[in-house]
């Protein structure tokens, strides 16, 4: 396991376990820790400069979220996404996104929807250019704004704790495969049009298509 560069100096009064959580999560997301990589207690202690307890707490949190998997008395490792299970994670993320849109669309103003449309246009442009990196960055901007508009705090908390790990799983599982860009592109275009007109049934259909939320996926 390569040792990532030292984590940023932490702001005052943050708990050690939260700092450990952030550092390990960031290392997984930026690829410093690779899918399936074993996480060794002693190495993590040396890297993070803290004791076993906060690191174990952070790993437990990451396990609950799905970034890390553990087998009793055996290993702790970064999750190793499998192509055949990716659709389950895609659908689960979609169920949350669909729920957020269900509560957001009826309470947004035309200006707020226009703002979301601009963010969706950025995703569409990146997909048209087949620029994966840019499409991921654009999607992050859109989903963050969408969560920001959500009036239901319980749903926000659940999404914050679930969406990132689902997205990681799907992106890693599909990376390196030659995917058909036309399908997500078409789904994002119809989502854009439905959202622009504030039409919830169109939004629903587009999200189901995008996240493959069908019983026969």
């Amino acid at each position: 396991m390569p040792i990532p560069p030292p984590a940023d100096s932490a702001p005052v009064r943050r708990l050690a376990r939260d700092r450990a959580y952030d550092a390990i999560r960031d290392a997984i997301l930026d690829g410093t820790l690779t899918p399936g990589e074993r996480l060794d207690d002693a190495e993590l202690q040396r890297w993070l400069g803290m004791s076993k307890t906060p690191i174990r707490q952070a790993l437990q949190m990451l396990t609950l979220e799905g970034f890390v998997e553990t087998a009793a008395q055996s290993y702790t490792r970064v999750v190793a996404p499998a192509v055949e299970d990716a659709v389950l994670h895609l659908q689960t993320a979609g169920v949350l996104v669909l729920g957020i849109l269900e509560v957001v669309v009826p309470v947004t103003t035309a200006e707020q929807r226009a703002e979301l449309v601009v963010l969706l246009d950025a995703i569409i442009a990146a997909l048209e250019a087949e620029d994966e990196e840019r499409s991921i960055a654009a999607a992050q901007g859109y989903y963050l704004r969408l969560i920001g508009l959500c009036p239901n705090r319980v749903l926000i908390r659940l999404s914050e704790r679930s969406l990132a790990a689902r997205a990681y799983y799907v992106l890693v599982a599909y990376s390196g495969l030659h995917l058909d860009w036309s399908e997500p592109l078409a789904a994002y275009r119809s989502l854009r049009d439905a959202l622009a007109s504030g039409e919830i049934s169109g939004v629903r259909a587009a999200v189901k298509r995008l996240f493959r939320i069908t019983a026969d996926a």
């Binding site: 689960t92 729920g99 509560v103 669309v105 689902r166 939320i213 026969d216």
Partner: protein, 212 residues
């Protein structure tokens, strides 16, 4: 903090200590042995469960993530006190998970499975208040859980749903007026399922959970 009596349920042989501790504390909360707002002292838990601090802390961390307990840093851990003003948000969030499960499950079912769900929905139309204890509502959604092919979603719904449902049970009076339409919602669900109309069944599920 009263010490609950030892439970006698059989534990799965290879269950980890921290998983057993988690289940015991969670069940004590769900059954009301531990009450909302009640402080959880580590010494008391050690004595009750007969284990060391480590698995207790791990279990409390999981319970905190799920929302069963609240912790203040450097301070105490207590059973979550459900906030009535959050009852609607809890209900909607359960609804997001369960209506998603409906979309993924119902279209692939055969007529016999839909008919069985219709019967369960019919029972839920009669007995459905959150204060009713183990109700027909749970029986309906429990059956849906078992039929759902997406295990990632069911795991998330188990993880989040139990605590949300618990908080709702404790604070449901905040929604009394709005929940008066529950019976109509379940009846609409029953009729749609009996007619093999899964789209209407999905819409009825959203309505039951006060989703727009």
């Amino acid at each position: 903090m009263p010490i609950p009596s030892q439970s006698h349920e059989d534990l799965r042989p290879r269950q980890l200590v921290r998983d057993r501790v988690y289940t015991e504390i969670r069940d004590a909360i769900l059954t009301g042995v531990l009450l909302p707002g009640e402080r959880l002292e580590e010494a008391g838990l050690r004595e009750w469960l007969g284990v060391s601090s480590t698995p207790i802390r791990q279990a409390l961390q999981t319970l905190a993530v799920e929302g069963f307990v609240e912790t203040a840093p450097q301070s105490y851990t207590a059973v979550t006190t459900p906030h009535p003003e959050q009852a609607r948000e809890n209900l909607q969030t359960i609804g997001v998970l369960l209506s998603g499960m409906s979309i993924l499950t119902l279209p692939a079912l055969d007529a016999g499975q839909l008919a069985r769900l219709a019967t369960l929905a019919g029972a839920a139309a009669v007995r459905n208040r959150p204060g009713d204890g183990r109700t027909a509502v749970e029986a309906y959604f429990g059956a849906l859980f078992e039929l759902c092919p997406n295990t990632v979603l069911t795991r998330l719904a188990m993880q989040a749903g139990m605590s949300l449902a618990y908080q709702l049970t404790v604070a449901h009076h905040a929604l009394d007026a709005e929940l008066s339409g529950l019976s109509d919602g379940f009846r609409a669900l029953q009729e749609a399922l009996a007619a093999n109309d899964v789209e209407t069944a999905e819409a009825a599920t959203r309505r039951i959970f006060l989703l727009p």
